[in-house]
């Protein structure tokens, strides 16, 4: 607007802006001080929590004490926002473990039980699903022609096969390279994680991901309080703020404690095989060594730790 003003008005204008600015600053300060003492209403936080949130460090740079305080703040935030008592922990990766996943596409019948179990376990917003089950014509492998929104009375449908996709936990993840603030990285157990508090929401990682495995919180997560899973992990299923990217993390809150991921547990056909790639006796190693396995978009060099195989 300024360029439209005549030059002689300029000093007056600047003075006007200066006065308005000072007035507003004074007003804001007064409001801040009064509300702080009266209600402690900083988006439901106390002033101390709001300051600490603002100055919160990157996950990898936090000291143990800082991390402990951060986890406490996350729990208080969830209590304020949803009225639910959650436990937020920081579960470190298990030594000597690299996770891998294999799906038997002959067994997958497209029931989508994994999709629902994942949404419940990981506190997903109503408009986000980490797993998508693609329906393809038998004999075809063109992912562009796949239907992920199929609606049938019963599945499997004659002449179709089903291919579940989710984050492939690439060993050479393009999303990590794309992130300008290092808010996403690969952990020592091979899981690519996101620090939701460090993410700036630029969505470069989503553009970089060849598997459409990352999702953006366009709105505050639509998550009814009664659907919240109270067992959460910092680099996992803790409630997410608006404007950050999230993705499948192989259920860090479960798998790092020895459990199976929720999708494996929910699958009624046993198509999903999860395990430690470094353990030569694990089921996943048997599959990789004895079955004709393939990975999606292998030619891109992303080196996914997510394999598909069939019985034939």
């Amino acid at each position: 607007m300024m360029h439209r003003q005549k030059t002689e008005d300029m000093p007056e204008m600047i003075d006007h802006y200066r006065r308005t600015f000072l007035k507003r600053l004074g007003l804001t300060t007064a409001t801040v001080v009064s509300t702080t003492s009266a209600h402690g209403a900083w988006g439901g936080k106390t002033l101390g929590d709001a300051f600490a949130d603002f100055f919160q460090q990157h996950y990898q740079r936090m000291t143990t004490e800082e991390l402990k305080q951060t986890l406490g703040r996350i729990e208080r935030k969830a209590q304020k926002q949803y009225g639910v008592n959650i436990t937020c922990t920081d579960t470190p990766p298990v030594e000597g473990v690299v996770f891998g996943y294999a799906i038997n596409i002959s067994k997958c019948k497209g029931y989508r039980d994994c999709v629902e179990a994942c949404a419940t376990e990981n506190n997903l917003s109503a408009d986000i699903r980490y797993i998508h089950v693609l329906e393809l014509d038998k004999g075809s492998m063109n992912l562009e022609l796949a239907d992920r929104y199929y609606e049938h009375e019963t599945v499997p449908v004659e002449g179709k096969y089903y291919l579940p996709i989710q984050c492939m936990q690439c060993d050479n993840p393009p999303c990590v390279k794309a992130c300008p603030v290092e808010a996403t990285w690969k952990e020592s157990d091979g899981i690519v994680v996101v620090d939701y508090d460090w993410c700036i929401g630029c969505r470069y990682c989503m553009a970089a991901c060849p598997y459409s495995a990352r999702f953006f919180n366009w709105s505050r997560p639509q998550l009814p309080a009664e659907r919240i899973n109270p067992n959460t992990n910092y680099l996992g299923n803790r409630p997410r703020p608006v404007g950050v990217v999230e993705k499948c993390h192989f259920c860090t809150q479960r798998t790092r404690k020895g459990l199976q991921p929720a999708c494996q547990e929910a699958c009624p056909t046993g198509a999903r095989i999860f395990g430690n790639l470094l353990d030569p006796n694990s089921e996943i190693r048997y599959v990789l060594e004895n079955k004709a396995v393939f990975r999606l978009k292998e030619e891109l060099g992303t080196d996914p730790k997510f394999w598909y195989f069939s019985d034939r």
Binding site: R112, V157, K257, Q264, G270, N281, V287
Partner: protein, 188 residues
């Protein structure tokens, strides 16, 4: 219940050659020594008519193969009409099964019978390439037996309703899927 399971093991193990090296408290039988050890999720307490000996007394079974109308199961739709009850069930004691090698085994060891035809699947199942693991990825391996997913009388599973499709972001409309004219690799 535990006593009964042990009883099954006690009866079943001497009949199976590989099982002799196994511990006495083990409920599984290893055909492949290099396969990771496993335990079957016990199944007898989930069976509707178990124990069969409550109705069927020893020795009252007519061993003549015939079609039976029973209330136990639907029509036997397995193996193209080549099977009848005593192909798998033990005629002398219906609490047990009998393999094609004439070994008396418990219901939890049904995989020994399945494997006499479906050997490839059985091998995959031993090693974890088929079937479902019920325990965590690093805990003791607890797996489901064949018959916990496949009804041996009618092994084909009926199609069922899927869960709802994924949501579309608010403000957007879902595009109708256009089935391609052809997407098969072998068709021009």
């Amino acid at each position: 219940m535990l006593r009964f399971l042990l009883a099954i093991v006690a009866v079943a193990t001497p009949c199976i050659p590989v099982a002799e090296e196994a511990d006495s408290d083990q409920t599984e039988t290893q055909l492949y020594s290099e396969a990771p050890r496993f335990t079957i999720k016990p199944r007898n307490n989930t069976l509707k008519f178990y124990e069969c000996s409550r109705c069927h007394e020893e020795g009252d079974i007519d061993p003549e193969p015939r079609r039976l109308k029973t209330r136990h199961t639907r029509e036997i739709d397995h193996g193209g009409n080549r099977f009848w009850c005593l192909t798998c069930h033990d005629g002398d004691n219906l609490d047990f099964l009998r393999t094609s090698r004439n070994e008396k085994i418990g219901f939890d060891q049904a995989y020994l019978i399945c494997g006499s035809c479906h050997a490839d699947r059985q091998k995959d199942w031993y090693f974890g390439g088929h079937g479902k693991r019920m325990s965590g990825w690093q805990d003791d391996r607890i797996i489901l037996a064949c018959t916990q997913c496949h009804d041996p009388h009618t092994p084909t599973r009926e199609p069922r309703e899927p869960q709802p499709p994924p949501p579309v972001r608010a403000g957007l409309e879902r595009q109708q899927h256009q089935p391609p004219a052809t997407s098969r690799a072998w068709e021009p």
